[in-house]
Subunit: 254 residues, 2 copies
Amino acid sequence: MPKPEVDPTAQLELRVDRSSPVPLYFQLSQQLEAAIEHGSLTPGSLLGNEIELAARLGLSRPTVRQAIQSLVDKGLLVRRRGVGTQVVHSQVKRPLELSSLYDDLEAAGQRPATTVLVNTVVPATAEVAAALGVAEGSDVQRVERLRLAHGEPMAYLCNHLPSGLLDLDTAQLEATGLYRLMRAAGITLHSARQSIGARAATADEAERLAEAEGAPLLTMQRTTFDDTGRAVEFGDHIYRPTRYSFEFQLLVRS
Amino acid sequence: MPKPEVDPTAQLELRVDRSSPVPLYFQLSQQLEAAIEHGSLTPGSLLGNEIELAARLGLSRPTVRQAIQSLVDKGLLVRRRGVGTQVVHSQVKRPLELSSLYDDLEAAGQRPATTVLVNTVVPATAEVAAALGVAEGSDVQRVERLRLAHGEPMAYLCNHLPSGLLDLDTAQLEATGLYRLMRAAGITLHSARQSIGARAATADEAERLAEAEGAPLLTMQRTTFDDTGRAVEFGDHIYRPTRYSFEFQLLVRS
DNA sequence: TCAATGCGTTTGTCCGGACAATCGAACTAC
DNA sequence: GTAGTTCGATTGTCCGGACAAACGCATTGA
């Protein structure tokens, strides 16, 4: 009796376009990811073995492996030697990205609004200088913003940038997020150090955020680095915890 | 005039042991990582090209690339086509891992202590059932712990586990962390969904943590999944923000 | 009945090579 | 002097193959 055909990728219309400039492994991984997202590849199901999949697509095994590996890195697939590769069966969202409050709100359909309170050049304090790796007292760009959703204040954002890195236009800052402006300026964000904590609101903070003095606030400090390791931004943010919390998914590095 | 030798890896004593069961690419990546950590490879310096490095070590280029790639994934190196591979020059610590409060405290030299308040089997509430993917009202293991450092309460940890997954011994729970017990039981942690927020302490919480009622607290909810996507733990934790904050490094996924 | 062994399957590792894409710098032409 | 071009260097992608290691399962043995 022949083994029943149970390879779920056999039913999928997988194909690659060799004339496309998009790498073959990337084409394949995108199609597999779409199939998982769409539900064509159900959680727990085993992908057929790499050799056969490669043969079916007319690709080499390393190329197929590269495609699968990228999905393993994303946490969508799990490989087991001697068993096969199967779809992780869980509600995997995207793993933690370098999140931007603006993007988060927009993704939640909240139409964020921003009020720029301060946008000027100031001498760096010791804290800012240390975070950005510049001399204390040297010029840095300081931006203070109030972020609102549905007309209610959500967060107070204070950021410092190295002077001259970016031309910060107040109108642009009110129209979009800081990260988008930086990316648009050709800065490739690479990594960030974050610290998330909580504390009671001071009188000033309470007034800005329409909270009571002493109300709990969620705080976040972040230094962002570009791909050369240069610090490009230092942010000191406070959030109203009734309106915002940090949600993310993490993967264990193996 | 011959080009001056500027390849910093040439000075390094890189070598691989082919008789070792440790994969060659892993041996190489570990040595490179150690060299970066130790400062032998200074930030910004260019590694010699892959071909030459492979030849020097008697390895193939794919193997060398695999070693380098793993360090790129860790954020220690940056590749630039047409230029070379260079050491990221910044204070890159480890990127965010699936952190354990116990490990965090121990790493900080704080000698954590734990008091188990509750360790029993209870019917799952709707929230717990949804998080763990079990039926509401079915049996789940409930653990409540108080974590202390230097004799001061630091966090109140409430966790739920699927029944039968793990035999939780109270003595063991007081001696080490939950994650360590799970790993020791052969469970491979894979990913987690976290939510970090803040709120004011209730009277009960305040008493447990030696805080005042209404004091700001840092809260964290987490569902952890193993490598098959099964939920293996749901935790609802509160921390004293004067004693603890979440610090981590993130990388942008390219 | 239960443990140990053997075997096929599948992924993990590694090789050696080929060509393309991109970057930076030197060079050339205007 | 400046802009465009060419060229060498380096990484990116892809191939086809080989053997090792681990897993699950059936078989065998006590």
